[in-house]
Symmetry: C2
Subunit: 322 residues, 2 copies
């Protein structure tokens, strides 16, 4: 049986009020076992408010990483809820970690407390974006590693392909490298060097794709550095919102009728992004996550954890880019 | 009186058939004087098809830069239509250059044939993106300089602010640096260093903005490197198309009713992007431009040229970042 999900109850913009409510929802509505990690008195009080005392376990952590803290300083806080959560995963007492803390802090703490899978240089965030025609494309790295080397970017492609295979049941994922212009030799230094490595990597490499292709489903995995990936992810979310708001503003359709499309690209809907390349399952939820989003992130993390070691990522990591 | 627009008639995916038709439209429908630059026999034949012989001047250029050619090799082709067009601008015989050639080739040829304005390190492409509420934000650099230094990025902000002031009549433009996370210290190496320079630059600097803000009108000028800017521009265009296609697919509104919103983000509509930081006016049109788009680019270039030296960019360049 899969061990419970460790939830960093102190993470996120709203803190324990929303995280505890999310844990209660995950447990009651989705039968996902959750362990809350954080300040004991506050978490116990929140559980009491939900009449859930004794229903959900609390693991004490006396410190919390502030949302503004950067990676190295965050990783040094060894008594933080993030650090304790990572130790639970590392010890096998939790099947996965969920945090709505800042991505940089989660990445730094997970690298230290859970560790990278064999051969992996840096972790990468994977987000499944809905595409035209009802499919999804995995965008990786969506923000874990802002300044990767070309070898790291090439490896993100393997991690993303492993994720597409094991989680999205895509048997033979096609990978595209996000760049500018589709002719060989276009791009920036990083993308050109990554392109050369990818051409020789054990992955089905389509070549480069442009921003136009992010939502068309042209490739199964879109690989890029964490800076570009995060800017693109947020641009996509913002653009869909703006396009639909303009449709409503023009009186073409009411916001209510447009809600189904809006929801597909709402960060509150998909719950979280999987942090790939670690020795354990980690899901990063949006900092602004409310209870429902936290619950979805727990459900997602529990499903990933149930798929065996790091959701197929171990196998991708076993083929490191030379 | 403003001299005519020099049109690189050999540039673009469709070549003289579309560029000559665009010149004829610019001339007849918009009273914009155009000089066609390229292979004499072909251009004369195309003009004849439109009954426009003698109506539009042709300046002979025996060579053409292929769409696949990269910057330095393109700049070395001194008999190309691009090179001849640049010389016309440099000599004052044309008020502006329009090309639908590859951005890299136009940038390289313009730097060589027209030259940079005083103090400018590298040119940058500016695109005006429609925002919620009916305004626009200038995205700069949208693809001219893929690997800028931090000082170049800071200077792009000055160029973009100059463009917003002189072309968009925005008296005191607010500049945001595109990054990930809004806390200081977030981003990649390039954006962090550019952020420090911008804090001390003679510009109204808002700080960083995220991908979410690209279409919200939160700032007047969004500055980034040419790689990220081009990926974002094309993601925006692609996402709006996808969101509207999903609305149509769901049967919420017909494609016809959605066309007004779609047009706002269609690269064929806005005509072209202004290449800032040069000693003359240059407009880069999309490679796939048809006649109507070429005509719009000529109209835009003529208007920019009529605003005096490099459309206010000279004044921005006169305040180089230290």
């Amino acid at each position: 049986m899969t061990p419970p999900v460790a939830l960093d109850a102190m993470g996120g913009d709203h803190g324990p009020a929303e995280t505890v409510a999310g844990a209660v929802a995950a447990c009651r509505a989705h039968r996902v076992p959750v362990v809350l990690v954080g300040e004991e008195a506050r978490l116990t009080a929140e559980l009491r408010r939900h009449g859930a005392t004794g229903e959900i376990a609390v693991v004490r952590a006396d410190d919390a990483v502030p949302m503004t803290e950067r990676g190295p300083a965050a990783a040094a806080m060894t008594a933080s809820s993030l650090a304790v959560g990572c130790r639970l995963v590392s010890a096998g007492e939790a099947g996965a970690l969920v945090s709505a803390g800042s991505t940089g802090a989660v990445v730094a703490c997970a690298m230290r407390g859970i560790g990278r899978a064999d051969g992996v240089l840096r972790p990468a965030l994977a987000v499944a974006l809905p595409t035209l025609g009802g499919g999804v494309s995995v965008l990786v790295d969506a923000g874990a590693t802002a300044d990767p080397s070309p070898a790291m970017v090439a490896q993100f492609a393997l991690l993303g392909a492993g994720y597409a295979r094991s989680v999205l049941a895509c048997a033979d994922p096609v990978v595209g490298l996000l760049s500018i212009g589709s002719e060989p030799g276009k791009g920036n230094r990083l993308s050109r060097q990554a392109e050369e490595l990818l051409a020789a990597a054990p992955v089905r490499f389509h070549g480069t794709v442009e921003g136009h292709d992010v939502l068309t489903g042209r490739v199964d995995v879109i690989v890029t550095d964490g800076f570009t990936g995060n800017v693109v992810l947020k641009s996509v979310e913002g653009c869909v919102r703006t396009a639909l708001a303009m449709v409503a503003e023009e009186g073409i359709a009411s916001p209510e009728r447009l809600a189904a499309v809006a929801r597909r690209y709402d960060p509150q809907t998909h719950g979280g992004a999987a942090l790939l390349g670690l020795r354990g399952t980690v899901v990063v939820a949006h900092g602004s996550s409310g209870a429902a989003t936290v619950a979805r992130a727990c459900v997602m993390a529990y499903a990933l954890a149930g798929q065996g070691p790091v959701a197929g990522i171990g196998s991708a990591a076993a083929e490191p880019v030379p």
